[in-house]
């Protein structure tokens, strides 16, 4: 029996034009900048593609979504969501053309297979102001958010090492990191 490692997809999603709505994208790009990950782990910026992410989702066994989530906590609260709570992924509901993450997973199941999935989400302070920078609260909590994602990667059978020399900050990232 082959025991190939689980294919893990870390999908940071959201709209970077609206302050903390981009928290998922910022987190995954920062992970890319700071860490090397094992071969079975893919770090991906899913932006606002929503259901168009079906292709990479169909090709993984474990899906870890990083996104803004409207929960009941104060700004900066970090949540771990599974099951029906996956519908709270803000980025998958960003327009009248989208359904939500659960429906996206149901569609994946209809045409192929559906991965296990979890959201590591954060309560946004501000997702209305048009700005590329994260709010100060989100900036402060980003490291904790990334930490929970790394835990999730390890739980699923992936591994990571901190890069000796981190990747370059882009002009955008300088504003956000």
């Amino acid at each position: 029996m082959t025991d190939s490692p689980k294919r893990i997809l870390v999908l940071g999603v959201g709209n970077i034009l609206f302050t903390d709505e981009g928290i998922g994208v910022r987190a995954v790009t920062e992970l890319e900048r700071l860490y090397d990950v094992s071969e079975n782990v893919t770090l991906m910026d899913g932006g606002t593609l929503g259901t168009r992410l079906m292709d990479p989702i169909l090709n993984c066994d474990m899906l870890i979504v990083i996104d803004a989530v409207l929960g009941d906590g104060p700004a900066g609260s970090i949540y771990r969501l599974t099951g029906e709570d996956l519908r709270k992924s803000l980025a998958f509901k960003d327009s009248m053309h989208q359904t939500d993450l659960v429906d996206t997973l149901i569609m994946c199941e209809l045409v192929g297979t559906r991965p296990d999935a979890v959201i590591i989400g954060m309560e946004p302070e501000d997702y209305h102001t048009m700005a590329l920078e994260l709010s100060p609260v989100s900036q402060e909590r980003q490291e904790a958010l990334m930490g929970f994602v790394l835990e999730e990667i390890a739980k699923a059978g992936g591994s990571f090492t901190k890069k000796a020399v981190p990747g370059p900050l882009t002009q955008e990232r300088e504003q956000c990191a």
Partner: protein, 566 residues
């Protein structure tokens, strides 16, 4: 249904219902459409087709560089991707009078051909099939009998009972979970069986599996477009003067395109067409429901961009269903009416003089009730789309079309009169798809031969005139599309799009003539006013694409946000 009489043509069940039946929004289309029908004793006696979207593209384009038009207009719609880019490019080509190299014409045609393949496959299985196929009933099917049924429809099918059982299990689990996803609010669901569906369970299961198979197949058709078109949706290879996809002339790109289109063509022949014929065979009464009277096609796949008659599918107009007398198309005979639409005034203007001056009234207004204008040709409402393309080609004796039409009519055991119906419209889509697919290798060979002979021209340089006007005609998968441009001081002075769905799904005109879909719906029987799948069967058969409007809801309050255009 009397199960003991195997050959009886079923009659769509009727009710005694009298009252309104509103379907809003119509789903499994592109865009926002509302159908407002009045039913009397189980049949539709009055109906309004209401497009709920305002585009305003014409307003956005005014004052811009004509070369940019295609990039804006293509964003009308990602389902009808490419076709607007082509129509806009052709309009400016026409205005500046540049000759297009023959390889560029072939490239434009090949991308359009693969768009037909993509659109029609998706339409039949994913937008239309569930009006005829009862997915819930598929759970009652015998998988072995289903495999036998399926394999009897094409010698190239080798489906197994296990495959059908797997689909049955998957769909069964989905329905049982209560989280219905794509089947939410389907008209075949509900406590009481919807008697308007009457396929045997094995046919339902077969079609359900092929719905899922077709989801994977349409990816390939879309990829084929991206090989020559740069990306999909929204190709980026057309320019005024030709095309820019020099990379596509390489043998490896051509081989990629060929492999994908060959595979899709095989699916069309072995699955789409036989499934279409099988389902149609059970719904033959729909050969007498949903017909219209007049048809318009601009033709497609030219060898000369300045001659519509050079098109593989010829242009033409058919009045009063008279396929013995196809009329030549005269572009001066088009007028767009606004009398029953949400625009200022009552004028009926030719597109070169077209005005886009929106004026909304309200949703209940029976007099002005659509964001679509009402295009009329010589004063008549004309249906467009694959049925129009096929009828005109058939009427003009186009051999591949004549052969395909006769094959389909023969298989169904019906005469040409059956074409003037919802069933006919649906069959015509398959015919157009098949005939186009069969022609792709011919065009591809011509391209390869030109390149081998040393001709790699894809572009002709040109200069922007100060003043000009031009029109670009395309026969998109949904029908007759035209872009009309007036250039002044080198910028867009006026731009009008007359899109196929406006022809087919537009409202009444100043003479009070019903739009084609309205005419088609009159007299349609309705079995269950709460699940009026009969309306969907006909509306979907037009493959509506209403093009995106500007409607924004606040996620928290659900209120419509208002926009001030600065």
């Amino acid at each position: 249904m009397s199960g003991s009489k195997p050959q009886a043509i079923p009659v769509t069940p009727k009710s005694n219902y009298s009252g309104p039946v509103i379907v809003d929004p119509v789903t499994r289309i592109e865009g926002h459409l509302r159908i407002d029908a009045t039913v009397e004793n189980g049949k539709i006696v009055d109906v309004r087709s209401s497009s709920q979207l305002f585009r305003g593209l014409e307003i956005i384009l005014k004052g811009r560089d004509p070369r940019d038009a295609q990039h804006f207009t293509q964003r009308s719609c990602g389902v009808c991707t490419y076709v607007h880019a082509l129509a806009s490019t052709r309009a400016v080509d026409n205005a500046v009078k540049v000759k297009i190299p023959k390889n560029a014409i072939i490239m434009r045609n090949l991308v359009m051909a693969s768009q037909y393949l993509h659109d029609h496959l998706v339409h039949f299985y994913h937008l239309h099939a569930l009006d005829w196929v009862n997915v819930a009933n598929a759970l009652k099917a015998d998988p072995a009998k289903t495999a036998a049924l399926s394999n009897s429809l094409s010698p190239n099918r080798k489906e197994t009972a296990a495959q059908f059982k797997a689909v049955q299990d998957k769909v069964g689990a989905l329905i049982a979970s209560g989280k219905l996803g794509i089947f939410t609010n389907a008209y075949f669901l509900g406590e009481k069986k919807n008697e308007a569906y009457y396929l045997p369970a094995e046919a339902d299961l077969m079609a359900t599996k092929h719905y899922l198979d077709a989801l994977h197949m349409q990816v390939k058709a879309a990829r084929a477009m991206a090989i020559f078109g740069a990306k999909n949706p929204h190709t980026q290879f057309t320019v005024v003067g030709g095309v820019t996809n020099y990379d596509a002339l390489k043998p490896e790109r051509i081989a990629e395109y060929k492999a994908l289109t060959d595979e899709v063509t095989a699916f069309i022949k072995d699955f789409y067409i036989p499934d279409l014929l099988a389902v149609a065979g059970f719904y033959k009464d729909w050969a007498a429901i949903g017909g219209t009277t007049n048809f318009i096609s601009f033709g497609e796949f030219p060898t000369d961009e300045y001659n519509l008659e050079s098109r593989f599918f010829a242009p033409g107009v058919i009045f009063k269903k008279d396929i013995a007398k196809p009329q030549a198309f005269d572009q001066n005979q088009i007028k767009e009416h606004v009398k029953h639409s949400w625009y200022v005034g009552d004028a009926a203007l030719h597109p070169y003089s077209g005005v886009t001056d929106p004026k909304y009234t309200n949703l209940q207004d029976k007099d002005r009730y659509s964001w679509m204008k009402a295009p009329r040709y010589m004063g008549e409402a004309c249906e467009t789309g694959p049925l129009a393309t096929v009828l005109v080609a058939y009427a003009k004796g186009h051999k591949p079309t004549v052969d395909a039409v006769n094959f389909v009519l023969g298989k169904l055991g019906v005469g040409p009169a059956a074409l003037f119906s919802t069933l006919g419209r649906t069959a015509a889509r398959g015919i157009e798809c098949l005939v186009t697919a069969n022609q792709i290798p011919v065009w591809l060979d011509a391209l390869v031969s030109n390149v081998k002979g040393g001709d790699t021209e894809l572009y002709t340089p040109w200069k922007m005139p100060s003043e000009a006007e031009g029109v670009g005609f395309a026969q998109a998968p949904r029908g007759a599309l035209s872009h009309w441009i007036k250039i002044k001081k080198g910028k867009i002075e006026n731009f009008q799009l007359v899109v196929p769905s406006t022809w087919s799904l537009g409202p009444r005109c100043a003479a009070g003539k019903l739009g084609p879909v309205e005419e088609a719906l009159m007299g349609t029987p309705i079995f269950d006013p709460k699940r009026p799948v009969e309306i969907l069967r006909t509306v979907h058969s037009f493959d509506p694409c209403i093009a995106c409007g500007v409607h924004v809801l606040d996620a928290k309050t659900g209120e419509t946000a208002s926009f001030k255009v600065l």
